[in-house]
Each structure stands twice: as structure tokens, then as C-alpha cells.
């Protein structure tokens, strides 16, 4: 039995439905997982973002004279 922490306290993972999703964006890869009860209530959601290529670059430019 795998017990996971949820908004309703620790629950047996087998009693929950799990949805796994991912999104592949230019700068990041996102994986998320949601657990819901039999009546559809969202009781846990995790997200994992993998930063691939941040475009944040400071250009240090030496000015010409």
C-alpha cells in the first residue's frame, strides 16, 4: 500500500485516480500529476518543471569609440 499525503490527509493511492500530464515548451518541460477521489475531488497536484533553455541572457557589450 502506497500512502500519499493529500488535502484529506494520508490516503491509499489505490483509492485514488491518477492523471499524468506533460507539456513540452520551448524553454521548459513540464510534468504534472493529479490525484482525485472517486467523487472527482482534486486532493493532490504536483508539478515538475525542467528548465531547458532559459532565454534570459544579459549581453555585456563593450561600447565602441
Amino acid at each position: 500500500m502506497a500512502v500519499i499525503r493529500t488535502t484529506r490527509g494520508d490516503l491509499d493511492e489505490r483509492d485514488l485516480s491518477r492523471t499524468l500530464g506533460f507539456e513540452d515548451r520551448p524553454e521548459e518541460f513540464v510534468v504534472w500529476v493529479e490525484w482525485r477521489t472517486a467523487d472527482g475531488e482534486l486532493v493532490r497536484r504536483d508539478a515538475h518543471l525542467i528548465l531547458k533553455y532559459p532565454t534570459l541572457v544579459a549581453d555585456a557589450i563593450a561600447g565602441g569609440m
Binding site: R5, T6, T7, E23, R25, E27, E28, V30, W32, V33, E34, L42, V43, R44, R45, D46, A47, H48, L49, I50, L51, K52, Y53, P54, L56, V57, A58, D59, A60, I61, A62, G64
Partner: protein, 151 residues
């Protein structure tokens, strides 16, 4: 041989290391690395290049999240390859067992050793977290992918 106009690569790395002070209000006395933190902001916030320091305004809030965010692990100092100096936190940013019900899409890296002065702002796809973990895995720490690059 010929001379070539350039900003010296060593200077870029040394900027990240705090070796140069070109202004007249030098206050730095520490000889150790600063402590950095990472705070999350709501998708409705306005955090950008004009942000000068950490602020709790429009920061996320919820169970398990402490205002100000989490410490950034910094075990690897700045370095350079070619003409680009770069630096990346040495571990993922992990917000554990949090509930962040309002959508957020931004993390501010700031210097908690220097009056919470802002370092960089990074945006991502909007997220919510329910009684779970939010993990930001850092990019490869090199001249092409590092989180902070002076090119």
C-alpha cells in the same frame, strides 16, 4: 597580431563573483558567498527587469509556503566558457508539501545577504499545486543553457 575591442570574459565572471565595484556606494564587506533565495509570484503579478528587490506583494501564499521562498543551493561558483560567463544553482528548487491554489508563473532569484536585492526573474507555464511538491529543475550549467549568462 591585432587588437580587438571586447569586454573581458574574466570581468564577466568576476562581476558574478563580486570582485568589481564601479560605483561610489560600495557596501560589500563579506568574503564569503551570499545566500540566495527563490520566491514564487502569482501570474497576475508584475515582476520584471525593473524589479529591484524581493517584495511580498503578489507573492504566492498557501499552506506550506513561507513568504520569501526557499534557499537556493549554491555549491558551484560562476565560471566561463568562450566569452560567456555563467552560473546556475547547483540543485533543483523544491517547494515541498505546499498548496498554492492561485496560479503562479514566476520565480524571483534574489540575494538575501544583500538587502534582498533582485538578481533574476524567470517565468514558466502557469501552475497550481495541491498538497504536493513544486520542483524547478535547473538547466545545464554551461555557456549555452545556464540560468544566468553574461554573453
Amino acid at each position: 597580431m591585432a587588437n580587438t575591442q571586447a569586454m573581458c570574459t574574466s570581468f564577466k565572471t568576476e562581476l558574478l563573483n563580486g570582485l568589481h565595484a564601479l560605483g561610489t556606494t560600495v557596501t560589500r564587506g563579506a568574503t564569503t558567498a551570499d545566500n540566495l533565495k527563490a520566491a514564487l509570484y502569482l501570474a497576475t503579478a508584475t515582476v520584471n527587469a525593473a524589479t529591484t528587490a524581493y517584495s511580498a506583494t503578489n507573492e504566492v501564499s498557501g499552506s506550506g509556503y513561507t513568504a520569501g521562498g526557499i534557499a537556493v543551493t549554491n555549491a558551484t561558483g560562476p565560471s566561463s566558457t568562450g566569452t560567456t560567463a555563467f552560473w546556475t544553482p547547483s540543485a533543483s528548487l523544491v517547494y515541498s508539501s505546499v498548496t498554492l491554489a492561485t496560479a503562479f508563473d514566476c520565480v524571483l532569484i534574489y540575494n538575501s545577504s544583500q538587502s534582498n536585492k533582485a538578481i533574476s526573474v524567470h517565468t514558466f507555464g502557469s501552475q497550481t499545486i495541491t498538497a504536493g511538491n513544486f520542483t524547478l529543475t535547473m538547466p545545464t550549467n554551461d555557456a549555452s543553457n545556464a540560468l544566468i549568462r553574461l554573453a
